[in-house]
């Protein structure tokens, strides 16, 4: 690959508060990046700022807008990725029905691909991050919910209905807790960071004996981070809460193995701050529940692109969609 080429690839990470924009060369080295605030009025206001910011980014890199070969946009919510339209996005209500790919594409005179944020992060880890050494991978994001991206034989799983890789809504306990999606017993409703804290808070409210009670009494709630900290410090109640989280993720990984049999499952999202213990306990439960009649080879690890994964992943997706090198 010729890294002296002047081809540029743009990654745009559309968030509820900020839009991050990154400018990359063909080898996905970041040349410059910037953030602009998300305007809460019309998408065109924000996107015009994005395009203006882009022009200065490109100049910073010593190049011109004409050098842009393609752009990728990562966005949460339900998307029509084929048409490049945002159908609905909870944190970006003003983008409902907006044909964002066409708008950006016309401004920069280059093709533009739209993809949901989990898929973008997954593609980034696959091409340049924790899974760059394998062919088949799954990304699980452990945050407010549990999101996912599935890559098999070098391709992101999509589908006509745009609801593929909703891995947090795999049902673990059919008669279990009610999930925000209305199903019962989804993985997400036990094992996301939010759900882990919620389970702790419910039992602290009922008087559970725990070193977390002081925080709970003072502030009315504890965070997932605090639950993991107290578990690490030896609090039995906090440990049991985190064990159920690990058990549910372990069971989810068993189902992921049976469905698409990835070489690696990569974890990202706020909860990975819990560190190696989290991976160890997920592995423990995976090994406990997985079939023993065949040779099971799988690796668990953390994402390593971190806060720039959205712009790296969407720029890489733009390159790999339009300009396979």
């Amino acid at each position: 690959m010729d890294t002296d080429t002047k081809d540029l690839f743009i990654g745009i990470d559309l968030g509820g508060t900020f839009v991050k924009i990154g400018c990359f060369n063909e080898s996905m080295e970041m040349l410059s990046k910037i953030s602009v605030p998300t305007d809460d009025q019309h998408p065109k206001v924000t996107l015009n700022s994005v395009v203006n910011a882009l022009a200065s980014l490109v100049r910073q890199a010593g190049l011109q807008l004409e050098n842009i070969k393609a752009a990728g946009i990562g966005c949460p919510g339900v998307l029509d990725t084929k048409k490049g339209v945002i159908i609905t996005s909870p944190n970006l209500p003003m983008y409902k029905g907006f044909a964002i790919s066409r708008f950006v594409s016309e401004k920069i005179h280059a093709p533009c691909v739209l993809e949901n944020d989990a898929n973008v992060a997954g593609w980034g880890e696959y091409v340049l991050g924790a899974a760059e050494d394998v062919d088949d991978m799954v990304l699980l994001t452990l945050g407010t919910g549990i999101g996912g991206a599935v890559i098999t034989d070098g391709k992101l799983i999509h589908s006509a209905g745009n609801s593929a890789a909703e891995l947090g809504h795999i049902i673990i306990f059919p008669e279990g807790r009610e999930c925000g999606c209305t199903q019962r017993g989804c993985a997400e409703t036990y094992a996301s960071a939010t759900a882990t804290a919620k389970r702790a808070n419910e039992m602290l409210e009922e008087g559970a004996v725990s070193s977390l009670q002081n925080i709970f009494i003072e502030r009315g709630e504890v965070s997932c981070k605090e639950v993991y900290e107290h578990a690490a410090q030896g609090d039995k109640f906090a440990y049991e809460i985190t064990e159920l989280t690990a058990k549910v993720i372990g069971l989810l990984c068993v189902d992921i193995f049976s469905y698409s049999n990835p070489d690696k499952i990569v974890f990202s999202g706020g909860m990975i701050a819990a560190g190696q213990t989290l991976l160890d306990r997920i592995s423990f439960y995976f090994n406990k529940f997985i079939r023993k009649d065949i040779n099971v080879k799988i690796e668990f690890c953390f994402a390593n692109l971190r806060e720039d994964s959205g712009i790296i992943g969407s720029a890489a997706l733009a390159r790999d969609t339009f300009c396979l090198v």
Copy 2:
């Protein structure tokens, strides 16, 4: 597509008792077919018969071996599809480690693709059968076990480990019945034809009140077919057995929806003899358990290639792998 072309595509369906062979033109019209017995000694004995049979099939079609453009082989078991090697196959122990694609390819002087039987059947339904009108589909085979094939964006899901689409081993009840694979609560261990009969037999043994008791006392066991027949005739016990089967398949379909969001789930295998009632009850439980927060569009139907699905699917896979038309 020019149907007057003399290009031939061969489908080979390798079974424990018979090998079925079909000869197709480019439009996948069957020109001739034949079966040869599976020799229980060396694979080469059987495959030499297959190649001889093939020569006469081709002559029957008024053509020559030189017209063969590609062949596909469908086979149960664990396969290395990239190398065309049968790793292990329970009903074909003598094929263990045999490089079948290379052997057949050298005999017919044409490329040869190896694929597991469920994937072959799935590809057949996708290209020429019940799912020919959609882009994304899943096949579920309901027989001795529950097998699967997943097609997204026009491609069969594979994986490095060759264990993708083992949909019968998605866990429905984490603390449930032990499955043949050693996991607990797999869909297969409740809802395959074999498991459905087994659950009935266990309870009949314990004295369950049912019109099936006469058969059970006389023969020591009832079949899945009989359970469905008695359920249809109004036997309450038999109905409850079939309801749990439908509930488990419904829950499995919820997980399938979340994972790869197919347009259609196509059912095949012996149990589909139960007919429309089976589909209706699966739909009932799917609709009961599926999320209500998004627009869910999915169709359930039966496979329609039936007994020739193995040879049609493998011939179509050969055409689509080597000679995309």
